[in-house]
Symmetry: C2
DNA sequence: CGGTATCTTGATTGGTATCAACTTAAGTGG
DNA sequence: CCACTTAAGTTGATACCAATCAAGATACCG
């Protein structure tokens, strides 16, 4: 089994504040899992007996509305930690985490994390900061959803995705999302998202390579996102 | 100056975990403020050199969108603590807090809170739990904003307001909100909110007493909120 | 190669924003 | 206390945006 103190992924999240001996102990109680594309890491209503550290791959964090529509709230990538919130609030998860590609994740049991929260203020403080930052993101998302048009949200989403995931060798946004996923991020019908994508393409703001999206005119998208 | 260890409001927030001596020290460095209706406690871009404990009154937490529209994200009442997030993330505030009625708030300086975060794990843990709970709320709000119609959101908002603020002697929801405020909570134009309110009234789901709103048929509103 | 999921475009409907006019309520100063 | 001013609330008409339904095209998979 690989060791946590040698895991490079650790550097990206709150676990970086743990001591070598904490990490050694963690190595012994963690379990590693392979999650296939499309499969859940956890789902709404699941009781999470620990947290997940994403070693490789990307997943979507989503939630069903009472209307039966799926809303993607966040996309999580290598190095992120998920599940801390349910652990801290001691409730079942209110969110789904579903793999967008094959993933490798480490499960760290509850007791281990609780012990670190109690013993290691730097770790706790980092979790606090991460949550404060998430809350700020959420505030922004609420305002966007409430006040911006679907077109604005799509433009903004494309820009955010490129910033977060970069571009691959052909210059396309480096994440594999279906049209439906994109629609579920911006909170609209799949057809509407598709229609707007082809409008953007017609205006040469973006281009397609298969289903992959290439941002051609970033400036245009920024203008649209800000309402011009 | 009144003393924190005798302040009843403390029981409602994370400060309840502080020791008597911590509270004594806090009493000496806190300052009490009167905020008039309509005035800000703090605004977007302000650097908050501490947190505010709401001793009395109600305020709205809002944020401007790039479109120039105002979105109310939360309503804060007696006993709540605000400003911790900006303090924790060490950034300027991304939100406005504006009094909806005359208020009395206590300002607790940064150093005092930081000291407690460092020294008192129970306090820190409670802040963490509060933030985890806020995040859950935010998730729900994002989904609602993205997926529900304005009518659904209005029905839901009225129910939430009644749950949170109760009813006054005439049976009306016990918080003073303008029609514009209501529109800014649900993220729509003032006229749209008004139109839907009078539709609800026509259907006898709600009634008016001046501008105050009385929920007559809770069941109806619940059905509407859930999409029927 | 056939079947299925995903993607795409068209036509229609309904919901919501916007603009404009008007009414009512809430100050404010003489 | 009244006349005046201004803010808040209300209603109507119109235009636009986005959801929905329907049909067809393309890609994917066993």
């Amino acid at each position: 089994m690989s060791k946590c103190d040698q895991c490079i992924v650790r550097q990206f999240n709150s676990l970086k504040h743990l001591s070598k001996e904490d990490l050694m102990r963690m190595s012994n109680c963690k379990t590693s899992k392979i999650i296939k594309k499309g499969e859940p890491i956890f789902e709404e209503g699941d009781y999470l007996n620990g947290v997940y550290c994403i070693k490789d791959g990307v997943c979507k964090i989503s939630k069903m509305s009472e209307n039966g529509k799926n809303q993607i709230i966040n996309i999580i990538k290598r190095g992120d930690l998920i599940g801390e919130r349910s652990l801290i609030s001691e409730e079942v998860s209110n969110l789904n985490a579903i793999a967008l590609e094959d993933m490798e994740v480490c499960f760290i049991p509850r007791d281990e994390i609780v012990r670190d929260l109690e013993k290691n203020p730097a770790f706790t403080m980092d979790i606090l900061k991460t949550m404060a930052s998430s809350l700020k993101n959420s505030d922004n998302l609420i305002v966007d959803m409430a006040q911006k048009s679907v077109k604005q949200r799509l433009a903004e989403t494309l820009l955010k995705l490129q910033t977060k995931f970069g571009v691959n060798e052909i210059g396309a946004i480096d994440i594999q999302l279906s049209r439906e996923d994109i629609a579920n991020i911006i909170g609209t019908a799949t057809e509407s998202a598709i229609r707007l994508l082809s409008e953007f393409k017609k205006n040469k703001s973006i281009g397609f390579k298969g289903k992959n999206i290439i941002i051609i005119n970033k400036n245009d998208l920024e203008k649209i996102a800000n309402g011009f």
